[in-house]
């Protein structure tokens, strides 16, 4: 029965071809360090799912942002779990992405023909940091408020155009409802959409070139 269903789908979707072309590649002998990219991808999906769930109860307004998170933590069934996963997953994702990058650098996997994979990866790293920076403000408590005050001020210390950058980030000269709203928009749509797109390119390049071999003594 299931075999028939699968065959019907396969005939139309080409599932077997998909599997053969995308996943069924011979792999060079690797170590656990080679799994960090997959770990980062998993964390991205986990953050996406828990983030969507958090949005059910969170509201990005200065009046209610803190109260709504308080409600998620104390009033909603398993709210503490969803937010806890999102909170710690964020930290873990930064760490995993960074170590992944370090591994690629140490094993020289960024060399020909994988330069673009590396460059896109750098973009992914920056976007991940952006996710961390924008997500940090959303609880709208003292810690996040002042962290963002300092963070945007650092961006504002750029010579000549610093003041403009500061105002663009904050949506005005001061931290306000506009800041919270645009950080929220960046956190839930702009950065994730950019991340998802670049992850697609990153994965395509990995499938195209395959995993790199570890350098041998001759290299």
């Amino acid at each position: 029965m299931w075999k028939k269903v699968y065959e019907w789908l396969d005939e139309r979707l080409g599932l077997n071809d998909l599997y053969k072309n995308i996943l069924d590649h011979p792999e060079p002998k690797g170590t656990w360090w080679n799994t960090l990219g997959s770990a980062a991808l998993f964390l991205f999906i986990l953050q996406g799912v828990t983030g969507i769930f958090l949005m059910v109860y969170y509201t990005p307004s200065p009046d209610h942002a803190y109260d709504s998170i308080n409600y998620i933590m104390n009033g909603v069934a398993f709210g503490w779990l969803i937010r806890g996963i999102h909170h710690w997953g964020a930290t873990l994702m930064i760490i995993v992405v960074f170590i992944h990058m370090l591994r690629v650098f140490v094993t020289a996997s960024f060399k020909y023909p994988r330069e673009l994979t590396w460059l896109v990866g750098v973009g992914l790293f920056i976007l991940t940091l952006g996710m961390g920076f924008t997500g940090y403000l959303l609880p709208w408590d003292q810690q996040s408020y002042w962290a963002t005050t300092v963070g945007t001020q650092i961006a504002g210390s750029v010579r000549f155009i610093g003041d403009f950058i500061l105002k663009a980030l904050r949506g005005g000269p001061d931290l306000s409802a506009l800041t919270l709203q645009r950080f929220f928009a960046a956190h839930v749509w702009m950065l994730p959409a950019a991340l998802a797109g670049l992850i697609g390119v990153h994965l395509y390049l990995i499938i195209k070139h395959g995993e790199s071999h570890f350098p041998s003594k001759e290299d």
Binding site: H64, D67, S68, F78
Partner: protein, 164 residues
């Protein structure tokens, strides 16, 4: 290897399926509970509300009262005002009618007009008699009543609020 032994491959497949199922339930149940949480909560709105001393309510003269209910929905508090009239028919503590002053037409608040001896709604001139019956205007039905009331030992009249 005897034929009745399960192969390593099918053993791993089975274990992976079982562990995957457990993980799926462990994630799925909290996820669904989280999403549907508000639907599982009972809204305990009803309460006994004290509206005044019985001694202050004269027979035959409508006694106006009002009270405020605060509802908490998630992180938001909404307070709503309610009001009504007590009409004592006789000295007997149970012989009274308690109206909700909300007009049955479009929910404006009706006032007691002593000259007309009627409740008049300022919005569309709905007119109700002392017994709440519609005398004139657009209201589709008589004034609503608080039918459950009780008297405390210190002579305070309380009504049972069911939530609008």
């Amino acid at each position: 290897m005897p034929d009745n032994d399960i192969s390593r491959r099918s053993f791993i497949t089975a274990i992976a399926g079982i562990v995957g199922g457990i993980i799926g339930v462990a994630i799925g149940v909290p996820a669904i509970a989280y999403l549907l949480d508000p639907a599982f909560k009972s809204s305990a709105k009803e309460a006994w509300i004290p509206i005044g001393k019985l001694a202050d309510m004269q027979v035959g003269k409508p006694y106006q009262f009002s009270f405020t209910r605060v509802e908490v929905n998630g992180w938001e508090r909404t307070s709503t005002s309610h009001g009504g009239f007590v009409i004592r028919k006789s000295d007997s503590p149970n012989d009274m009618i308690i109206f909700n002053s909300r007009c049955t037409h479009l929910a404006c608040t009706v006032n007691w007009e002593a000259d007309a001896q009627a409740f008049i709604c300022p919005c569309h001139d709905g007119k109700f008699s002392e017994d709440g019956v519609v005398l004139a205007g657009p209201p589709p039905r008589p004034l609503d009543r608080y039918t459950d009331f009780r008297l405390t030992n210190d002579g305070i009249l309380e009504i049972f609020y069911k939530g609008s």
